[in-house]
């Protein structure tokens, strides 16, 4: 797979090797395509749809779509920005997210992306669903109020930790994360050292007694917007 492919993103010509996804190629070229469910160490799922781009006029998820010779990718357009805002809004209103007292604030990818896209408050009405909290585990607590169903913990626990602690249950708007036990996380073999404990983009999987080890103001997205680490690669 060393075949060289040339294509454009928003008119910028990019060269990369065949087999790469649009997102991988864009990242290397220092072009940021907003994303949420994608984690660099895990296979892409294409579930949040934030990274939707137009490929030759057709919408595709940049995290799963392979690059092809001569393709035209549109990324930074007003329509896509609006669609991405809609998706972020949807994730906020389908859960119960309270940034002001969430220990993940400042390190949260959902919050950071909302700021980057200029969202001040969601335009849709809140669902205020009833969600479970599980604090039975000695080192970890789960708060499904803040889960965005990205699936990172499912993949990490299954494919990296080989434990299968998490899985989706239910479908549609009732879909949620469940643990590999009758009810409680304490009855699984989950450990704070698991990969799955480190991949949550929001405040759904939290390590106990670590919440404020980095003070507010010095956190990942407190000083620079999400995605700048990619844009800094641009020469």
């Amino acid at each position: 797979m060393s075949e060289q492919i040339t294509f454009t993103i928003d008119g910028v010509e990019i060269k990369d090797k065949a087999g790469q996804t649009i997102m991988q190629a864009a990242d290397e070229a220092g072009i940021y395509i907003p994303r949420l469910c994608r984690h660099p160490d895990l296979p892409p799922r294409g579930s949040c749809r934030v990274c939707t781009v137009f490929v030759n006029g057709k919408p595709q998820a940049a995290c799963t779509q392979p690059i092809a010779e001569g393709m035209t990718v549109e990324n930074d357009t007003p329509e896509l920005k609006e669609s991405r805002r809609n998706i972020i809004d949807m994730l906020f209103i389908e859960g119960n997210h309270f940034c002001m007292f969430c220990e993940k604030s400042g390190n949260c990818e959902l919050q950071a992306l909302a700021y980057r896209l200029g969202i001040l408050s969601p335009k849709y009405p809140y669902f205020f669903p009833k969600k479970d909290v599980d604090s039975t585990h000695p080192d970890i607590f789960l708060d499904l109020n803040r889960c965005i169903l990205c699936g990172r913990c499912v993949e990490a626990s299954r494919d990296v930790d080989h434990k299968g602690v998490f899985e989706f249950v239910g479908r549609g708007i009732e879909k949620k994360i469940a643990v590999n036990a009758e009810a409680d996380l304490k009855d699984t073999d989950f450990a704070a050292t698991d990969k799955a404990a480190d991949v949550c983009p929001v405040g759904a999987i939290n390590k106990k007694r670590t919440a404020f080890s980095t003070p507010i103001g010095k956190r990942l997205y407190d000083t620079k917007p999400i995605g700048s680490e990619i844009e800094e690669r641009k020469k």
Partner: protein, 605 residues
């Protein structure tokens, strides 16, 4: 109980070779045996097939015919699809509630009968209808409900229910169903007389590549609705590298208003299995799977018998019809109540014993499908067309229909029309001619292609049914002048809210939002800007959703907004003070007032 559970489940799992990919068969068997797949059962299944218990829970919670909580020995599933509602299912529902003294979603106190609603069961032409376990009961009325409940309470065995028998194979002892075929018009392709074996014989006389060329020359396109050229699909599957290959038949027609495959499966299963064998030979597959929707379980004995007959006649099995080295057989995979499994990659997931989530494309099924092998997924009707093309020739097939859409199309017509049923008509028929044929010339609206299709009004009745204009998997639902199109659109959004898999954000959340907007409009609280919001949200869901469900689910809203805008405009009004009328503070405070046991003081002008 527990030891019994252990040994029974052990036997069930062993019967499926303790194979994780046979999970659908395992959980269906456990559900049938114990009326539930309990928490304990999940642990036992996980142990025997060597998977995590939460995976079993993920599957059980995905399919509506499976449940963690106990259900009655008899489960009455009343279809509450739009067409059934139009046919008066409300009174029937009340009668069931009264006779059983329970509400929907409940089980009688003796634990014997459960009452539920279910979306379209493929009986719209004989609505209202219900499933009682695997039995189908059609043309329900309040009187009939009384009889059924009294009958059931005698034996609690739905197979002993007394009912008249339907026509054709519905009266066969293996089916023994009151379902009517409702076959109103036979066309030259599917329902004409045909010679079993002739197509397969012709196929085996030539090379696989030649078969693909014949199907290409006939310009056969997929009958499920998307219209992908079948010859090309077979060519891609044949060309793909894989140790094994598979041909899957999608018999999961779940689009509300679709019931044409029901009639094929009842009367033309032989033609279908022949088409699968021809396709298997063309792509180089040794195995085919018929994915049958759970609602059509009443047909399985007949289908198994036809497969057995074909094996006996050497039309399946080893060295078929003497063709050395061509070994091919077909198995049936039952679904368990999930509309999304009609999406081809979700269907593959389900066959693999997974949650019915669609898969990421690329890779496409023709490259990496069932268990990672190249797979062709074809619609029931498409495969029947292939059989006929091989029997009669490509030129014969292309004689019927229109240029871009050769052949006939089975249309399942229901709703406000005099003759609901299945019509085999040449492609290219005008909507107005179809309406004349079915006795619905004064229709206010027609839904072509089911809710994921388009709802059109009289201005569009000169349009034609074909791939290049109004494409359809077969569902045609007619709405008379008294129907409220905003209500209809809302009903269909409810369907998509219930039936989406929840994998991607826009479809999972967006459809709920569309439904909430419509509810607000129906409640008389809508404002003109709500219509713009519906439009914008609907388009955004279509653009960003991952699979065909979300890419089409806003259609009931978007097409009625376009074609029946006055119905919406009549319902919305500008707020006189520019304030949103959505929030009623009195109501919001009611609960708190009750707890505090005192009225809140409000300061108004």
């Amino acid at each position: 109980m527990s030891e019994n559970l252990q040994s029974e489940i052990k036997a069930i799992c062993q019967g499926s070779g303790n194979d994780r990919t046979k999970m659908m068969d395992i959980v269906r068997a456990v559900q049938e045996k114990f009326g539930q797949v309990s928490s304990e059962a999940m642990d036992i299944i996980a142990k025997f097939v060597n998977c995590h218990r939460v995976e079993v829970e993920g599957i059980v919670s995905f399919y509506t015919f499976l449940s963690k909580n106990p259900k009655g020995k008899v489960i009455i599933r009343l279809c509450n699809d739009v067409v059934d509602k139009m046919a008066g299912v409300g009174a029937v529902a009340d009668a069931f509630k009264k006779e059983l003294s329970i509400d929907f979603g409940q089980t009688t106190t003796d634990g014997k009968i459960t009452l539920e609603y279910t979306p379209c069961i493929g009986m719209c032409d004989q609505a209202p209808a219900a499933l009682i376990n695997d039995e189908v009961i059609t043309y329900l009325s309040t009187d009939k409900v009384k009889e059924i409940v009294a009958d059931i309470k005698k034996h609690y065995d739905p197979s002993k229910l007394k009912h008249r028998l339907g026509d054709g194979n519905n009266a066969d002892e293996l089916v023994h169903s009151c379902v009517h075929n409702g076959l109103r018009k036979k066309g030259p392709v599917i329902f004409a007389d045909y010679k079993s074996k002739a197509g397969l014989k012709n196929a085996l006389a030539v090379s696989p590549v030649e078969i693909i060329n014949v199907v290409k020359a006939a310009r056969l396109r997929g009958r499920g609705g998307a219209g992908f050229p079948t010859g090309m699909k077979w060519q891609f599957t044949r060309a793909a590298v894989g140790e094994k290959k598979f041909i899957l038949c999608n018999a999961d027609e779940g689009e509300p208003g679709t019931f044409k495959d029901r009639v094929i499966l009842t009367e033309r299963a032989d033609m279908l299995f022949e088409g699968m064998a021809i396709g298997g030979y063309a792509i180089g597959a040794q195995a085919g799977i018929l994915y049958l929707r759970g609602e059509y379980a009443y047909l399985i004995k007949l289908l198994e018998k036809i497969l057995k007959d074909r094996r006996y006649k050497n039309l399946l099995g080893k060295d078929i019809l003497g063709k050395k080295g061509f070994n091919f057989d077909i198995t049936i995979q039952m679904g368990a109540g999930a509309y999304i499994c009609g999406e081809e990659t979700a269907l593959i997931s389900s066959c693999e014993g997974l949650r019915g989530d669609p898969k990421t494309r690329p890779p496409f099924p023709v490259q990496k499908g069932y268990l990672g092998y190249p797979t062709a997924v074809n619609n029931v009707e498409t495969l029947c067309c292939a059989t006929r093309i091989l029997e009669m020739g490509a030129a014969w097939f292309a004689e019927t229909g229109s240029k871009g859409s050769p052949g006939t199309k089975l249309l399942s017509v229901s709703g406000d029309c005099k003759q609901p049923g299945v019509y085999e008509l040449p492609f290219g028929i005008k909507v107005k001619d179809l309406l004349k044929e079915v006795g619905a010339e004064d229709a206010q609206a027609v839904l072509v292609g089911g809710p994921s299709g388009q709802i059109i009004g009289p201005n569009d009745y000169n349009r034609t049914i074909c791939y290049d204009d109004l494409a359809t998997g077969g569902a045609v639902i007619v709405f008379g002048s008294e129907r409220d199109m905003v209500e209809i659109a809302t009903e269909y959004m409810e369907f998509f809210v219930e039936e989406n898999c929840g994998y991607c954000t826009p479809c999972r959340v967006g459809n709920v939002l569309l439904k909430k907007h419509l509810d607000k409009i129906l409640a008389g609280k809508g404002e003109p800007q709500d219509l713009d919001a519906l439009q914008e949200l609907g388009e955004s869901i279509k653009t960003t959703s991952r699979c065909g469900l979300g890419q089409t689910s806003p259609n009931p809203v978007l097409t009625t907004l376009k074609n029946f805008r006055q119905s919406y405009e009549k319902k919305v009004k500008k707020s006189p003070d520019g304030m949103q009328p959505t929030f009623d503070i009195r109501k919001a405070l009611a609960d708190a007032e009750k707890i505090a046991n005192r009225q809140s003081v409000m300061f108004t002008k």
